[in-house]
Subunit: 94 residues, 2 copies
């Protein structure tokens, strides 16, 4: 395995971990009022495109990374819908 | 330009836009209590690795995408530090 591949896996692991602190924080605090629903909807849609891109490029780093982020993104969409409405306001959905 | 490249640019554009709704929401509401600081610190560190990965792989999609996300991540770190402490609690930094 070359250096660039190891770097890719490390970056991929970090990318995968990016949404994890938000998931943990939201689960613990049961509050997602300040969290943007659109951010995680865009992320989820985007992960699907990146998985297809990874498949076409035969790039396992891209594929593995984005499947895992997709799961975390959908988890945050669920948590936002569950805990994001404690203080309802029109901008809550932004 | 092949289909896979166009797909990459579309995915890259969406990736770039991912953090934008959160930046807009936080600027408008001046509140980031529920937003995870660690998420954006990890994202910023990670974007640097992805830029290096993109340079080594000579992949312009990866490079361009991650430079822009780096800027948005650092913007959110700034906004979290500015607006995230309205209700101070130990878990604010998670």
């Amino acid at each position: 395995m070359e250096f660039v591949d190891i770097l890719g896996y490390v970056a991929g692991l970090l990318t995968t971990l990016t949404f994890l602190p938000q998931v943990i924080k939201t689960v613990k605090e049961k509050s997602a009022k300040d969290v943007s629903l659109n951010m995680f909807l865009i992320a989820a849609a985007n992960q699907v495109l990146w998985v297809i891109y990874g498949v076409l490029k035969k790039d396992l780093v891209i594929i593995m990374t984005n499947v895992l982020i997709l799961v975390l993104s959908l988890t945050m969409v669920f948590l936002k819908l569950k805990f994001g409405r404690t203080t309802a306001s029109p901008s809550d959905t932004l």
